[in-house]
Symmetry: C2
Subunit: 188 residues, 2 copies
């Protein structure tokens, strides 16, 4: 266990791991790669995110963590809808594009989009898209956690998933195409 | 896009996808498999969770979604610490055990545990363990979201990850052992 804290902090605060150790440890928490998009009064924007998580199915809710220091933060603050587009194993180029420094016009020009019920852009060919309205925003540290009620889903049945693990991309095949062990126990 | 809502709801509420469509869609959001443990005044408990997510590194924070209807909820409500133990690709048996109906004694007897700084049980041989104090609890739908400050981490360098996707387990090798493409761009 690595922990970093001063003596004065230790008297009043719980111990806290240093930032680099936390980042190194988090690099081994595998996660799906998503392009999160929005459109509305604040304009159109999208970014690559692994910090997306299922919350509950009543009401159907997921969450997205958004750094308040990023260029897209202002747009997402002014809109009340977003779409989580989970990428297939063939879409790492889109992950790089939406995780890089390109303009929003360049990012959106690289793919085909449909407009959802909420108005957020839905990525054609995504593994799954969750069209959402933002129902609650919670401020934690440097990030906002956007709790999102899911208005609609669009799902492909036959594609593999792009996963980020150990600071790189991995490709997961759907179990129907692999010899993986299907169970219904874990997860929700 | 599938959405289910009555006419009266449609006048006042945003559209909402039906529960089964949400669950089916969520089954294609790949996620690492973790055993989340606690010990303290409320007793000792542990459960299998994929709904774990990095939040921010200042302060180092992650979140865990916990169903208020589960048997472990009361214990986690009364304790102020937990440990997220991310499983290696060789630990699917532990995932099944902590996701099943076995007693807590049976669950914990199946592995070796160390006590962390916070008092939460750390799984020997986990891919990575995050020892945490619970800093904030947010109620959303049927779940509590536990925001956790990370006090310490314990990490293995050489193991693959157990991942849940398409309602089954998958095994990801670390990039040092595979031909995957290492990047630093996506994620955080």
């Amino acid at each position: 266990m690595k922990a970093q804290h001063s003596i004065s902090e230790a008297l009043t605060m719980p111990p806290r791991v240093d930032k680099q150790s936390f980042r190194d440890a988090m690099s081994t928490l595998a996660a799906a790669v998503n392009v999160v998009t929005t459109d509305g009064p604040g304009g159109r924007a999208g970014f690559t995110a692994t910090a997306v998580c299922s919350v509950c199915d009543e009401p159907p809710t997921l969450l997205v963590c958004l750094n308040r220091g990023t260029s897209v933060y202002d747009v997402f603050s002014r809109n009340d809808a977003l779409c989580v587009n989970t990428l297939t194993d063939a879409q790492s180029d889109l992950s790089n594009l939406f995780g890089g420094k390109s303009s929003m016009d360049e990012r959106f020009a690289a793919a085909t989009w449909e407009q959802s019920v909420t108005g957020a852009p839905v990525l054609e060919g995504a593994l799954v898209s969750f069209d959402c309205t933002i129902s609650k925003r919670v401020n934690v540290g440097t990030h906002d956690i956007l709790f999102c009620e899911v208005a609609g889903v669009c799902q492909r049945q036959d594609s593999g998933s792009l996963v980020y693990f150990d600071r790189g991309y991995h490709h997961l095949k759907a179990l129907s195409d692999s010899v993986g062990q299907r169970i219904n126990q874990a997860g929700h």
